[in-house]
């Protein structure tokens, strides 16, 4: 178990070391999309409905935390495979799932400051209150890992970088459309609600939203348990099935 954590820590530090030369640009880029969205909504389509504004704000944070890391992980794995970087890791005694976890964690460290700034600025723009509990920070990796693992699988399996990022874009669109992220679940068609029940993004988004509004109720903990189960299954699947050797 010590070896497991120690390997994870090494892989995580390697990821951070990779980003140390470019983190500022990534932070600025990450802020552009949510803030532009906020301003447009504020100028053109203020709902006047505090609950809906809260959905929009939390939805934006969730999109940034879940899908930016999924896309980033997919792109990173595709890059690593294309340029032979994965060969280096494949010849070391490290568990494949740990590399996914480390890449995911690296992206979270990059996107978390953006998410926190989005919360602060969003509160100011929409004049609503959001609770930032330490539980939110603990929940973020749990919520984002399952989608990052999907991104890693796409990155390793797709024949090239462009195909990988295109597939990741389509999946992002599907996960976003079929899960109650920017719109409340009861406003989605019934069939979409049913599909959403099998997607990890549904539980990740719900748990993140509940934590942002400070509701750590039974529903929140159920989401956490479901995410734990999904993540464990995905970690096992990635460890046994993700093929980083060439065919």
């Amino acid at each position: 178990m010590t070896r497991f954590f120690s390997n994870f820590w090494d892989l995580f530090l390697i990821q951070l070391a990779n980003w140390r030369w470019s983190w500022a640009a990534t932070l600025i880029n990450g802020l552009l999309v949510p803030l532009t969205t906020f301003f447009f909504f504020k100028l053109l389509a203020t709902s006047g409905n505090a609950e809906q504004d809260l959905y929009l704000l939390s939805g934006n944070i969730i999109v940034s935390l879940l899908f930016t890391t999924m896309y980033g992980t997919c792109a990173r794995f595709s890059f690593m495979r294309t340029f032979g970087v994965l060969d280096y890791y494949a010849t070391l005694p490290v568990y494949k799932g740990l590399l996914v976890l480390a890449v995911n964690a690296g992206f979270l460290v990059l996107t978390l400051p953006t998410a926190l700034l989005t919360v602060l600025m969003g509160q100011y723009i929409f004049n609503i209150t959001i609770s930032l509990s330490p539980l939110f920070l603990l929940l973020v990796p749990l919520a984002s890992f399952s989608l990052s693992a999907v991104g890693a699988l796409v990155g390793v399996t797709a024949p090239n970088f462009d195909t990988a990022t295109s597939i990741s874009g389509v999946l992002q669109f599907l996960f976003m459309g079929l899960s109650p992220i920017l719109i409340a679940a009861d406003r989605l068609p019934e069939v979409v609600q049913w599909i959403g029940k099998v997607l990890p993004s549904t539980y990740a988004a719900e748990a993140l939203r509940l934590s942002l509004i400070g509701q750590f109720n039974e529903k929140f903990w159920l989401d956490v348990v479901i995410l734990l189960v999904i993540n464990t299954l995905i970690m096992l699947y990635v460890g046994s099935k993700m093929e980083w050797r060439s065919a």
């Binding site: 892989l11 990779n18 140390r20 032979g84 010849t91 005694p93 490290v94």
Partner: protein, 338 residues
């Protein structure tokens, strides 16, 4: 720590002459289904055995299938047919045997380019099982040993090609694994470092018993290090044995090297192409393998036919590993690369 000790700690008993690698009838075809069947195999029916403590060379031109074979041996590429075992364990069944026992230096290392040399060596050492303090010490020592002290704070990406190669070598060496596979370890290095690399590998092999598998183009330099060699050409293994054995097979020949004056190339060429044992390495550089018996007379004839004043220089040598390659493949390595 000797490798016998290290191996015992890692749960393996090494005995001299123990088979480290056994490659049995390996073939690699890229693609799937019918396309794979009709494609030219990257390697075909390769079998070899490498013993504990050997320095084994894989010799061949670009595209000969050497890199494909070693990628199969480190489990980065799965063979279409055949089986590879390491210390008697099938690597397809238990891939972890490779990651625990084999250090691999790829031809084009692309990992850890954004780290400094010391960081890259340290992380690799630690992930291979060294303690944090040992990995740190080893990283500092390897950086000094390979002349990387001046660039220790630079990202590997920003180093010169030669420095990058030395970082990759240091990454391979850290952790003292019992088997090392090095793909063109001296590419892009200057002559002094090339010599240092060969000397170090020889020393590591002698003092630690490390089994070393080398892929190289640099036949003349590697010849002094390699014990046994396999010659590959167009995906097939065309010869294998101890360097001295292979040389003795063609040792009935003496090598006459001719360096022709630039303005006399055409004149000499017409005479040299007529000689069965003559091979052109470069427009001005020819090699003629002359049978040992009557060598003096034949050399005199060749030189007399070409005339000494058409030559800038000439050399007479006994057979080299390069000649062995030429004898087995009918070409020089440079011919095949082109």
């Amino acid at each position: 720590m000797t490798h016998t000790k290290l191996a015992n700690l890692q749960g393996l008993e090494f005995t001299p002459n123990q088979t480290v690698y056994a490659v049995e009838h390996i073939t690699k075809r890229y693609g799937r289904g019918k396309a794979a069947q009709s494609a030219r195999p990257a390697n075909l029916d390769i079998s070899l055995e490498i013993k504990q403590g050997e320095i084994f060379g894989l010799l061949g031109s670009n595209g000969a299938g050497k890199s494909t074979l070693i990628k199969q041996m480190v489990n980065l590429l799965s063979p279409s047919e055949g089986r590879i075992s390491l210390f008697g364990v099938d690597i397809a069944q238990k891939p972890e045997i490779v990651t625990r026992k084999v250090a691999y230096m790829p031809q084009k290392p692309n990992a850890l380019l954004d780290l400094t040399a010391e960081e890259a060596i340290y992380f690799t050492g630690h992930m291979r099982g060294m303690s944090r303090s040992d990995a740190k010490k080893a990283a500092a020592q390897l950086v000094e040993q390979w002349g990387l002290g001046e660039v220790r704070r630079k990202a590997v990406r920003n180093m010169s090609g030669g420095q990058n190669r030395l970082v990759s070598l240091a990454i391979t060496l850290v952790g003292d694994l019992p088997v090392m596979i090095l793909d063109e370890p001296t590419n892009e290095l200057d002559p002094a470092f090339r010599r240092q690399v060969w000397d170090y590998l020889k020393e590591q092999n002698t003092s630690q018993g490390t089994t070393i598998i080398l892929v190289t183009h640099n036949v003349q330099e590697a010849e002094h290090v390699i014990g046994r060699v396999a010659i590959m050409s167009r995906g097939r293994m065309v010869g294998m044995g101890r360097v001295s054995e292979l040389k003795s097979k063609i040792d009935q020949s003496v090598r006459l090297e001719l360096f022709i004056k630039p303005d006399r190339i055409e004149v000499c060429e017409s005479q040299l192409v007529a000689l069965e044992q003559a091979r052109q390495l470069k427009p001005y550089h020819w090699v003629v393998l002359v049978p040992r018996e009557n060598a003096e007379e034949d050399i005199y004839k060749v030189l007399g036919g070409i005339r000494l004043d058409n030559l800038e220089d000439f050399r007479v040598q006994t057979a080299s590993l390069e000649d062995v390659y030429m004898a087995f493949t009918g070409r020089t390595i440079e011919d095949e690369d082109e």
